[in-house]
Amino acid sequence: MSNARSLADVFAAARSEKRAALIGYLPAGFPNRAQSADAFRAVIDGGCDIVEVGMPYSDPVMDGPTVQAAADRALADGTKITDMLRIVEAASEHGGVPVVMTYWAPVTRYGVDAFARDLANAGGRGLITPDLIPDEADEWIAASTTHGLDRIFLVAPSSTPERLQMTVDSCSGFVYAASTMGVTGARAEIGQLAPRLVARTRECTDLPIGVGLGVRTPEHVREIASYADAVIVGSALVSAIDEGLEQASALVRSLREATGSA
């Protein structure tokens, strides 16, 4: 893994190209276990700078209907943590930069240190934790440090200045800014909370800031790329994969083209 690009490398490269990085989310095991690695290869080929490999979970309180339905299908097909790690490995070997997004229950069950060790060995660069806030993350901070993984915590429009500072101080790689007060899912408009949140976050850190939740169209990407360092696409990509890998690659290409208007 010594030649593998880190998240910092990805953001430096995107910055030198005067564009935002594109991050694509899919659940592991979707559209099924057999084709999941192909789905990630398709979005990497389409131009995603970072792929977010979601660990499907039975009780995803932050996910909207599209992502939950996809994760349910993956679970029904028998997707396990070991499958997810194999997909991370495949994505990394394909030249992608994978990070994992997971609720905390699967990690605690697997063992926090063992999870970090196996994720790092598979070529994972970091972990996004939608229901683990830094206040509860001592064990994860230790394990991620030991195994050289980045820690991507979320900030939200409701975060107080104190919490914003505390959260970004615990982050590495990038900061995930939730664009709205809501769950995942493509929306007609991104809303006005995101630019303000990014601006507030910038005052606290030099880390890159990615904006997610609700991104669907090249127009959304262009809008977010004008003020954030990364644009995160999830539900729209899940829907595209359901139509076929070619459609997903095409969507990623169109979104990637829109990242350069910063």
């Binding site: 009780d59 309180v61 932050m62 229950a105 069950r109 229901d131 975060s159 919490r163 769950v183």
Partner: protein, 403 residues
């Protein structure tokens, strides 16, 4: 001692509890914690809450010696009659407190999850009383088996949303309520119905229900001149059990028993006996025992009782189990329904199927505790809502005609 020492500042009961939640909810949770910490020492709030309990919910509830039931069981059984509260269960104690807090916080809407519907009905009731909007999430499976309570909630002005995700039961209703809350937290309070969820919910739901244990303890002393030998309560999420246990935690001579819903048997996969069969994990915002697989995926639970059909349990129960202060035992559907029938026939009281698990615990423990023992059972709710389920179980639905 235990009751006073937990949770700590971070909401931990030993290794259990905490806040495993999206950042978007932290501000609301911290606001709630702050309001509650002030409210619980504010004489005005306490007076207002006490008046609601007395003048509206109908407290204190009776302590009743079930003599005919006792004869069958083989020792003296006292029933704490939470079924006589307004809306028919202990759930009203917690909901009136949380609704009052909601008003104080300036929020205008309550949301809730419900399994059997008792918490949903209680929330809809409190919302109507205090002029708050109300939405109740309920698994689709439960809306079918508890249609009477769905109608009650709607009559009280609440919107009832049938949740079709996952196993379509209580845990999925809770997921959906969390999603709603993330999106509407500015004006909505999520009125969690059991002693689960992120801190401060396990603490504040316990505190609001601790009136059950405090009353029962005093009534035992006043009416029978002694404390009971054992206190028994059913455990799903565990709010009624924590409520009655809270009165006796410091009485070392009083044994505490939580009776879990074992469904077809704790040794089978069709069970909801979390403390008997679960392992430590994270679910719905806190660390506790959970029914889960080797990957941390929540297992579907099963119980004839919608109110106990939940794969998690409040963190304080996990703490009481591991410290040995309370003992948790599984009760099958059959054992619970036999106890249900026994109380109906001996006392003229139709209990909730939830509470029947606690009654079954009395039947099972009596031989061990001996004929001189006094058992205090929390009759947490009445069985009107369960008549269709029980009628089907005992095959007594329909009219027998003679020609």
């Amino acid at each position: 001692m235990i009751g006073n020492s937990v949770p700590d500042q971070r909401g931990y009961y030993g290794p259990f509890g905490g806040r495993f939640i999206p950042e978007a909810l932290v501000a609301a949770i911290e606001e709630l914690t702050e309001f509650y910490e002030k409210a619980k020492v504010d004489p005005e709030f306490i007076a207002e809450y006490d008046e609601l309990l007395r003048g509206y919910a109908g407290r204190p509830s009776l302590l009743y010696e079930a003599k005919r039931f006792s004869e069958h069981v083989g020792c003296r059984v006292l029933l704490k009659r939470e079924d006589l509260n307004h809306t028919g269960a202990h759930k009203i104690n917690n909901v009136l407190g949380q609704a009052l807090l909601t008003k104080k916080m300036g929020k205008t809407r309550l949301i809730a999850e419900t399994g059997a519907g008792q918490h949903g009905v209680a929330t809809a009731t409190a919302a109507a009383l205090m002029g708050l909007e109300c939405t109740v999430y309920m698994g689709e499976v439960d809306t079918d088996r508890q249609s009477l309570n769905v109608a009650r909630m709607r009559l009280l002005g609440a919107e009832v949303v049938a949740v079709r995700a996952g196993s379509r039961t209580l845990k999925d209703a809770m997921n959906e309520a969390f999603r709603d809350w993330v999106s509407t937290v500015d004006y909505t309070h999520y009125c969690i119905g059991s002693v689960g969820g992120p801190h401060p919910f396990p603490m504040l739901v316990r505190d609001f229900n601790s009136v059950v244990g405090q009353e029962a303890r005093q009534q035992c002393l006043d009416e029978f001149g002694a404390l009971p030998d054992a206190v028994l309560a059913c455990v799903g999420g565990g709010s009624n059990a924590i409520g009655i246990f809270a009165g006796f935690l410091n009485d070392e001579g009083v044994r505490l028993y939580g009776l879990e819903a074992a469904g077809d048997g704790a040794e089978t996969d069709r069970t909801a006996a979390t403390l008997t069969k679960g392992s430590v994990g994270v679910l719905h915002g806190s660390k506790s025992y959970v029914l889960q697989d080797e990957d941390g995926q929540t297992r579907e639970s099963h119980s004839i009782s919608a109110g106990l059909d939940y794969p998690g349990v409040g963190p304080e129960h996990s703490y009481l189990k591991d410290t040995g202060r309370a003992t948790y035992l599984p009760v099958t559907d059959t054992e619970a329904m036999n106890a249900f029938s026994l109380l109906c026939r001996t006392e003229g009281i139709i209990p909730a199927i939830e509470s029947s698990h606690a009654l079954a615990g009395a039947v099972a423990l009596a031989p061990e505790l001996g004929p001189d023992a006094t058992l205090l059972v929390n009759l947490s709710g009445r069985g009107d809502k369960d008549v269709a389920t029980a009628g089907a179980w005992f095959d007594v639905i329909g009219v027998t005609r003679t020609t």
